[in-house]
């Protein structure tokens, strides 16, 4: 088991958004998070990535096993594509960036300044960083935003290869990536009820 979440409640700011989420993710598995906008997918992913401490519950994962990719690409526009990737390779202690470059077809762009690339190209660079981390659990927040159909397929191939190597992935997305064995977790049932019932100051009306 790569990642297990027990009775997790998490909050964005001071508003509790999700309550009592439970799931487990095994090696080679993908779990797709679905839910309407604002239902707390990002909050859940940030909690699992260790950026937001949970209100209650437990997250079981090996230390340093999670690679997070959020809405922002985390790219330095003044540096070249290669320098951006090499920086993250250095941070994560990875020697080679070749596989990451090949998976997202970044070879022709390597010497380009990241600031001169299109949004879709930046997203490819941002996703290539995941391969550089060499971490088994990918936590991805809307990874296919601004990608064209060809690159969505490229991304799906990268995820499948990652799963085949025993990795796992937790992906919040609205589109179908064509992953055969992916389970779907709808977060809507976990959306926290207004706490007003038992806490007079918990309701949103008081915020």
């Amino acid at each position: 088991m790569r990642l297990a979440v027990h009775d997790l409640s998490c909050a964005r700011g001071s508003v509790q958004v999700l309550a009592e989420v439970n799931f487990a993710l095994h090696a080679g598995e993908a779990l797709v998070l679905r839910g309407p906008n604002g239902s707390g997918k990002t909050t859940l992913l940030r909690a699992i990535a260790g950026l937001t401490p949970p209100l209650a519950g437990r997250i079981e994962a090996e230390t340093d096993s999670i690679a997070y990719a959020g809405h922002a690409d985390g790219i330095k526009s003044q540096l070249s594509v290669e320098a951006n990737l090499r920086f993250w390779a250095d941070v994560f202690g990875t020697r080679s960036i070749d596989q990451a470059v090949a998976s997202f077809d970044l070879e022709p762009l390597l010497t380009r300044r990241a600031g001169e690339m299109s949004a879709g190209q930046k997203r490819r660079l941002s996703l290539a960083r995941l391969l550089v981390t060499q971490r088994p659990v990918w936590c991805l927040d809307e990874p296919t935003v601004s990608l064209d159909a060809e690159n969505v397929a490229r991304f799906a191939t990268a995820v499948k290869a990652h799963l085949a190597e025993g990795g796992s992935a937790l992906i919040a997305t609205h589109i179908d990536l064509g992953l055969d064995k992916a389970r779907v977790l709808d977060v809507a049932p976990f959306i926290a009820k207004k706490l007003a019932d038992d806490d007079p100051f918990g309701g949103e009306a008081f915020l």
Binding site: R46, A49, G50, L51, T52, P53, D64, I66, A67, Y68, A69, G70, H71, A72, D73, G74, I75, K76, S77, Q78, L79, A83, R86, F87, W88, D90, V91, F92, G93, R129, T133
Partner: protein, 218 residues
């Protein structure tokens, strides 16, 4: 960690990195002071230590909000927080990068600007030594302030208000070292206190900065 340092140095030197901003500000302040005070060389050489230290301190303050803000805006800070680097190390490296790109050039420029202010010749050695001992504290304290205010849009004002009181002891002892040196006295006591402030700042504040970052990334 070396990779982060190299990247920050590269970014500071590239266009828009703000490398020259602090230096230019320091230059402008010290060039303007003689115009404002008048040509009486006696007054100028008397206030030169204080003016040079205030100029260096304000120049340092000017570049603080870039330390974490840019990384926060483009999402790099989230990614760094979930990387194998501890946030304490990130804060320490950021402070070091800030000192290398701001403090060190200021130290190199200060003796030249001392001539403009008619700083007596006994003062130059003390000026460089006091800046060497004091400016690392400015970077360490500033990094802590930047960590406290990261995520606040246009948080520069709040950052200045938070950091300036913490800068006062460094300014007091730094300027006192040079003033004593100019008067032919012994500057070692204030210099020791200055170095003490710097050592405590370097040792303790990266931990405080990391805690502030964790709270602000929520």
């Amino acid at each position: 960690m070396i990779g982060l340092l190299k990247r920050d140095l590269a970014l500071a030197i590239k266009a828009g990195g703000g490398f020259g901003l602090a230096l230019a500000f320091f230059l402008i302040v010290t060039v303007l002071v003689p115009f404002g005070v008048g040509p009486a060389t006696g007054i100028l050489s008397e206030i030169a230590p204080g003016v040079l230290w205030i100029g260096a301190l304000l120049a340092c303050l000017l570049s603080l909000d870039r330390i974490f803000q840019l990384d926060w805006e483009d999402g790099s800070l989230d990614l760094l927080a979930s990387s194998p680097l501890p946030l304490e190390a990130v804060a320490a490296v950021k402070a070091l990068a800030h000192w290398l790109t701001t403090g060190l050039p200021l130290i190199a420029l200060a003796p030249v600007l001392g001539i403009l202010l008619n700083l007596p010749s006994e003062g130059y050695g003390w000026l460089v030594i006091s800046l060497l001992a004091g400016t690392p504290a400015l970077s360490a304290i500033g990094t802590f302030g930047a960590a406290l205010t990261v995520g606040i849009r246009r948080g520069g004002l709040l950052l200045s208000l938070l950091v300036l009181p913490l800068y006062v002891p460094t300014l007091l002892f730094g300027a006192l070292v040079v003033t004593r040196g100019v008067q032919g006295g012994d500057g070692t006591t204030p210099l020791a206190l200055l170095a003490g402030i710097t050592l405590v700042s370097i040792a303790a504040l990266p931990f405080a900065a990391a805690t502030a970052l964790r709270v602000n990334l929520r």
